[in-house]
Symmetry: C2
Subunit: 172 residues, 2 copies
Amino acid sequence: MSTTRTPSGPQDFTREGGSTMIGARLRRLSERIDGDAGRIYAESGIAFEQRWMAPMRLLSLHGPLSVREIAAALGISHASVSQARLSLHKARLISWTTDPTDARSRKLHLTASGRRMVERLAPIWSALMAAAIELDAEAEGTVAALERLDRALQRSSLYDRASAHLRRQTRA
Amino acid sequence: MSTTRTPSGPQDFTREGGSTMIGARLRRLSERIDGDAGRIYAESGIAFEQRWMAPMRLLSLHGPLSVREIAAALGISHASVSQARLSLHKARLISWTTDPTDARSRKLHLTASGRRMVERLAPIWSALMAAAIELDAEAEGTVAALERLDRALQRSSLYDRASAHLRRQTRA
DNA sequence: GGTATATGCGTAGGCACCTACGCATGTCAA
DNA sequence: TTGACATGCGTAGGTGCCTACGCATATACC
């Protein structure tokens, strides 16, 4: 490090800045974890996108499911599921049929190849699960902390909170 | 919700899947927080990218700084800083000079317009900071939990942990 | 039956980062 | 001085989501 090193240090600076501090750290940790998982697949010689894991697991346990159902189960937007659907289809891991009760809806299911992939990935997923549990324990409750954050945001979003503070400032 | 609702429920499913469970939640929370912050700027009629906040604050406190120094201070890649630099420049918020002691390096600084923007945004940043602190308290230690996770990952990455579990499986 | 509203989901563009690669410059050792 | 290695950073492509928009279909109500 050069002599022009910031006085507060790299970690200390991310401690400042409010929402950036939380949002940025969340994102960076997420990128790190996604990257690590991706490396496990790559090392095993398997062309696999990390974002495929949750929908594939869900379909193997509970399929067939519609885009909306998958989105709801995973807590993500239907648009994300729709986009993942295309890449999963291209990889021949899923296919779909039109829902006979609703022409707007499609029921996604694993292909035979998709089911084989799920079986092939079972040891890797099991290892990733074990690693995550170990990590959670070592970090003393990451998942619980994220749930508490989630609930706090549901009670009142960062937007609502910041808006309230801004109004208070305006009035002071 | 339709009758084909997954038996384990949306929140329950993200509880499964190991690294996905942590990585995906981190990302989603990060998106939510970034989105909320973006809304505050937009509502104030200010065209501002959330990713500009940290570098601009840093430059206002400690500038001028090189791409590498900013990256180190913020804990992100130089490539990210380099990319943000272009958009910040386009918005006339920063400019740079070549470092006289190292021809490869450029020293970024806020423009006059950038300094005015920092002043203009001070109340918003202050509100976002207050909101984040409130959120952290209400969620009972988000930042502390993220730090513990960060340290746990530094001790041993998810990749290393999962690899070890895979080797254990292979031997069992 | 007709109209207004709700719902499912595809598509486009965007976000804030990442890694990989490569060029230019700086440093160090022989 | 020269060659090997390190460092700064630009560029490209990619990640896994997001929101906005819009079309088609379903539902509710009069």
